[in-house]
Every structure is written in C-alpha cells, then in structure tokens.
C-alpha cells in the first residue's frame, strides 16, 4: 500500500560557512500519512524544516512538492511567504510563535489573510463592507470556528493567545496552521512541554487530522510516545545525514539508531528507552 509521494527531497545540502547542517539528504513524504523526523539535538531537523518552508535557501538539492491542484512545485526556489501561500506547506515552530496580544480567534483569522486580503480588493471593498468582502469574512469565520471546535478552543476564542497555558498555545498554533488550509503540515516538536495527558490528546488529534481530513503531516519530535504511536514512517537524522528510515517497528530495532541516540558503550536497555509505550 505505497501511497503517492507528496514531497520528495533529493540531495539536499545546507551549509553555513564551514558547517554542513544537512548533508546530501534525500527522503520522500507520502500523501495522507504521518511522517516523523527524529534525531539527536543538532541533527539538522529544524534546519531541514527551514529549508522546506522557505526560511533558508538550500545550498544544493531540490525539494519537489506534488501539489494536488497546482501540479509540481519546486519549494527550494520559493521564498518566505510563498511556500505557505502558493504551495500550502505550513509549519509551526519549536518555540511557539503566536500573535500573543491578539485573541485566539484573531490568530485564526490572520492565518487566512491572503484569501481575505484578495476579497477586500486593496481594502476598498473592505472599507465599504461590500458583499464580496462580507461573504469572504463569513467564510473565514466559519473556517476559524470549525477548527476552534475541532481543537476544543471555542471557550477561549476571545482570550489573548499569550495569556493562555503552554499546552493550549501549542494547540492554537496547530489550529492557526490548519486555517491556512495546508496540503502538508510541518510540526516542529508539537509535544514539547506537554504533559502525558496532553501528548496523548495530541496523538488523537494528529491521527484524526490525517485519517479524516487527509492532511499529510511531517513531524519533528523527541517525545517517543508520540512518534512511535502516530507515525506511519520514520526518518532518523544524525549530523545532517539520514541514518535510517522505516516503520516505527523497524526504527526501534535499528542498531544505527540506537547507537546515535545512546552511544556504543551505554549499558542501559536501549530498546525500552526509545520504545515508548507503543
């Protein structure tokens, strides 16, 4: 049951001066599945995300997205906002980046900026509240309310995002990314700082997004209880190179991975440490 490839990365290299953060990385992300990228700190996971989403321009290599409606797109040639706007590849951040003084609902509406801005016709239709703009506004509100309900944020919709607890902020960031209508959702450590109950909820959410909405998810995560339980496919990076790839079961028993995580001379039981509670 090999699904169609949504994103294929070929020979991607990213150098910062003398430092090679990503070294000749090739991998592919299937459509409608959850792919996890794991690896020790400094392995180049976030740099990979930055290359993918237009924040860095890769030194060499290609990132091709098979967009379901717009055909093939070369993400490595697109800058900054165009990756999110045109290719609909949307990301969240390791250290949450919300709009803290704006309310949760406003955060979700801002995420739909491009559609609304087009409808407001250089703000003229918006200033006079013409029907075209009003319709777009109602649509945007519907989308926002849909995701608010889905992620259990309705009760706090009018609270400033920055005033809310950490775990809730993580959910808001995911909700905001979903409002952009992503083809590929890239989550950078969504479980960081969550308690066990919250990360269990995150698992349920990620699985339902993938199964019910058909959104492909690319996940960077250290929390093995998330990675092992939701991923269809795992890719392990170390020092910017891919050292292993496969299903959670294969990864858990891969000697290379165990070595990267625990070192060779470690005496503890490796399998249980990365095994999580799968």
């Amino acid at each position: 049951m090999s699904a169609a490839t949504l994103l294929s990365v070929e020979n991607l290299t990213m150098r910062f001066g003398g430092l090679t953060a990503i070294d000749d990385l090739s991998l592919s992300v299937p459509a409608g599945k959850i792919t996890a990228i794991i690896g020790p700190n400094g392995a180049g996971k976030t740099t990979f995300f930055n290359c993918l989403t237009g924040f860095y321009k890769p030194t060499t290599g290609s990132v091709r997205l098979a967009h379901p409606k717009r055909g093939e797109m070369r993400l490595e040639t697109m800058t900054g906002h165009r990756v999110a706007r045109d290719a609909q590849v949307v990301r969240t951040f390791q250290n949450i980046r919300l709009f803290p003084k704006m309310t949760v609902l406003e955060n979700l509406i801002v995420a739909q900026h491009n559609r609304l801005q087009d409808a407001s016709r250089f703000s003229i239709a918006g200033l006079f509240s013409l029907p075209g703009y009003r319709k777009a506004e109602v649509e945007a509100l519907k989308t926002a309310v849909h995701w608010l309900d889905r992620l259990g944020l309705t009760g706090i919709a009018d609270t400033a995002a920055g005033d809310l607890p950490y775990g809730t902020q993580r959910r808001i960031e995911i909700a905001r990314a979903l409002c952009v209508d992503p083809v590929l959702l890239c989550l950078d450590e969504p479980a960081a700082g969550l308690n066990p109950r919250e990360s269990a909820e995150l698992n349920t959410l990620l699985l339902s997004l993938c199964r019910e909405e058909g959104i492909a998810i690319l996940l960077i995560e250290h929390d093995m209880s998330v990675v092992m339980n939701v991923s269809d496919h795992i890719c392990v990076l170390n020092y910017g190179r891919k050292i292993a790839e496969g299903t959670p079961l294969e990864i858990r028993n891969d000697p290379q991975v165990i070595k990267a995580y625990l070192g060779e001379d470690d005496e503890s039981e490796p399998a249980t440490l990365i095994g999580g509670n799968a």
Binding site: T53, G54, F55, G80, H81, R82, V83, A84, R85, D86, V90, R91, T92, F93, R97, L98, F99, P100, K101, M102, T103, L105, E106, I109, V110, A111, H113, N114, L116, Q117, S120, S123, G126, L127, V138, L141, K142, V145, L148, T154, A157, D158, A160, R176, A177, V180
Partner: protein, 433 residues
C-alpha cells in the same frame, strides 16, 4: 530596617506599630544632632544646649505620622485589590467609549462656548493637529510596530506639497489635499523600501535620518523650497468656495456676506477648528475601520511576530509598505492643514522635536490605542500651555509629567487592547445571514 520594607499581605496592627517605631527610631537618630542640640550665643561664646522636649515632640510626630500614613495606604491597597481584574477589562472598554463620546461632545461645542476667545480655539486646533498626527503615526508604530522617529518628514512633505502646488499652479486647499496625501504616501513607500529588513533600533535610526534629510533638503534646496525663508501667503481653505475675508474680490462673496453676518476674524479660526476636527474624525474612522480589515490585522500580526506572519503566507513586504504608506498619507493630510492654517511654512516647523512629540503621544497614549492618543495629545499639548505661568520651569514640568506617566502607566495611559472581532458577536452576525 526590615520592618519598613513594604509587605504584600494586609498588615496587622503590630506590624504597623513596629514599622512606625522603626521610623521613630531613625527620626531620633537624626533628630539628636539636628533638633535635640542647638547652639546659643552666651556672652560672645557659643554654648551647646539641649532641647529634649522638642526632640521628643519631633520623634512622637514622626511615629504618629508614619502610623497614620501606613494605615491610609493599607486601606487604599485593600480597596484596590478588592476589585476583580477580569471585570476591570470590560469596564475599561466601556469607560473609554463613554469618555470618547464625552470628549467628542465637548469638542463639538467648544467654539460655541469660547466664540470670543481666540486663544482657546487656537490651542484646541493645535491639540487636534497632534491628535490627527498621533492617529497617523499610530498606524506605523502602534499597529505595525515599526518604530518611526522621522514621522515629521511626511508632515513636511504634505505641507510643502500644498505650498508649492499653490505657488506654482494656484491649486486650492481642497485640490491639493488628495495630491499631498498621495505625495506623502509615495515618500512613505520610498522610505519603506530600503528599510524593509530593519527592525527596532536600526529602523529607528534610519527613520530619524530620513526625517533630517527631508528637513535639510528643504533648508538647502532654495530654488524649490525658498530655503530657510520658507514659503508665505499660502491661502486659507474656503468653505465650498466661500473665502473668509473682510473684502472679497469684486463680484464674489465671502463667508460673512453670503450668510449676512458681520465680518469677524473668529469665523476663520472657528472654521479651521471644525475643519481639523472633521479631518481628525475621518482619520479615526478610517484607521479604526482598517484595523478590522485584513490589512489592519496583518499590521498587528506583524508587530507581534514577523516570522510567524511569513509562515502564514503573508507578504510581509506589502504589509510593511502599506503601513508606511497609509501612516505617511495621514501625516501628509495633517501637513496640508498645517500649511493652510499658518499661511507660512519653513523648515523650522519640521524639526526632530516634532517627531519626538508625536511619538511621545503615541507611546504615552498606549501603543495602538486610538483614545489613548487623544488623551496623550491633550496632556502633551496642554501641559506646556498651562505651564506658561511657570516660565523657565515649563519644560521641567513637562518632563516630570512624562516621567510620572511612565512610572504609573508603563504601557501608556490606555493599554488595554480591544479585539477586532469577538466570537459571540461575530457568530450572531453570521447567523442572521
């Protein structure tokens, strides 16, 4: 001295007593040489005598004073803490609204109340110019979070555009107004392009430089701007073509003759007042409406987190340039009014201190708050006026007031932010459709 340290919890009488005792002890230490001992001239020789009675009274007064002061402050604090903070936010919005309508009411009837007092109406006009400038700069600094220290440049561009369009092509106020707005917006975009990548301090320095460049050009490019001599005899605005003159041109009517009124210099002053009131209110309406549109929300999002904006697919370049252009345009409008009101402009009117005052209005008012700008403009323009009696201490008073505001209200007079959309209200609106 631990007893004098301010405690967070409610104080018991014992604690208050201890606190006052400490203060009395300090008073005693200081009092022995300063009050308790004194020198008396006794036949040409100085003799030290003691005054223990006075010292005892001094110490007792310190004790009682401290005790009473603590008690009053504690009462005040308990009462303040009793107010729930959640209720307070909603009430602030309500108070601001009432205050806004109140100020608008006063503004509307002010010339009627002071129709023979030129000074009051003139000062009110000045306040309104600063309110309008504050609202314009609020777009750039308060909403988009781009620190602009050279806002006066756009004010100057607006004023000079009108002055030059009049002297060379005879354009009237109403014809020049949109042209000057467009011109200032163009300058805003011109400034915006090179500084797209800058933030914070760096942005502030470049905008500061831009403001100075415009002023220096105006001083030195004599062929264009008439240099430091400025441009004079700029015509006053007319009311639908009716000028405010004592002797209108042959075959034409003036405001006074048209309405059959006796000519009075106050007509023009009051007209200018209402004109800037209307311009300022339009500015407010425009900016408040923009704030609820995608472009306004994008400005605020940009202020909050630029990287997150990019990740949401927002074209940050356009967002920044639109903020600069619209802020500059509003400054340009105010500039045209300024030129028309003064009748004479020179580069001296557009120095850095103007930029600083406008920025102070926005910051003291509470970044992004429309009503805060009004309050801060009132404070910052009226304080130096009221302080005229204090002559050379005027600016000292002004500075002290600014420091005090920043101590009491570090985030501005009105710092609570009203959301642009509320779920409850919005769903009710959507439900009707």
């Amino acid at each position: 001295m631990s007893a004098v340290i301010v405690a967070r919890h409610a104080r018991t009488p014992t604690e208050r007593f201890k606190d006052a005792a400490w203060v009395a002890f300090v008073a005693l230490l200081l009092g022995i040489p300063m009050v308790g001992m004194t020198t008396v001239d006794q036949g040409g020789a100085l003799v030290v005598t003691t005054r223990f009675g006075v010292l005892a009274a001094f110490v007792a007064a310190s004790f009682a004073g401290r005790f009473a002061f603590r008690w009053v402050m504690d009462q005040y604090r308990t009462r303040r803490d009793a107010k729930s903070t959640t209720v307070k936010v909603d009430r602030t919005a309500k108070v601001v609204q009432v205050l806004g309508w109140g100020i608008l009411g006063v503004a509307l009837f002010l010339p009627a109340m002071y129709s023979d007092n030129r000074y009051v109406v003139d000062t009110a006009t000045t306040v309104l110019i600063y309110v309008m400038l504050g609202w314009g700069l609020n777009v750039v600094v308060g909403l988009a979070g781009l620190l602009d220290l050279g806002y006066v440049a756009f004010y100057a561009v607006g004023a000079y555009t009108y002055a030059l369009l009049f002297t060379h092509f005879g354009w009237t106020f109403w014809e020049a107004l949109p042209a000057a707005g467009a011109m200032a917006a163009t300058f805003g975009i011109l400034l915006g392009y090179p500084i797209l990548r800058l933030r914070g301090d760096y942005l502030a320095i470049v905008t500061l430089g831009f403001g100075e460049i415009i002023r220096v050009i105006l001083v030195n490019w004599t062929e264009l701007s008439n240099g430091p001599n400025g441009i004079g005899s700029i015509p006053r605005p007319t009311l639908f073509g009716l000028p405010f003159e004592r002797n209108p041109a042959e075959g034409e009517q003036s405001f006074a003759t048209f309405f059959g009124l006796e000519f009075s210099g106050m007509h023009r002053i009051i007209f200018l007042y209402y004109l800037i009131l209307v311009l300022a209110l339009l500015t407010n309406l425009f900016v408040s409406r923009l704030r609820k549109l995608p472009v306004g929300r994008a400005w605020e999002a940009l202020r909050e987190d630029e990287i997150a904006c990019k990740a949401m697919g927002m074209n940050v370049t356009n967002v920044k340039l639109s903020a600069f252009a619209i802020g500059a345009m509003l400054g340009g409008f105010a500039g045209v009014f300024f030129a028309a009101r003064q009748g004479f402009i020179s580069p001296e009117s557009f120095t850095f201190s103007e930029s600083a005052i406008i920025l102070a209005i926005v910051v003291l008012g509470g970044m992004g708050s429309q009503m805060g700008v009004v309050l801060a403009a009132l404070v910052l323009v009226l304080l130096p006026e009221l302080g005229r009696n204090f002559a050379e201490y005027r600016m000292l008073l002004f500075g002290t007031a600014m420091v005090l505001i920043m101590v009491w209200k570090p985030s501005g007079l009105l710092s609570s932010r009203e959301p642009t959309i509320r779920l409850a209200k919005a769903s009710a609106m959507g439900g009707q459709k």
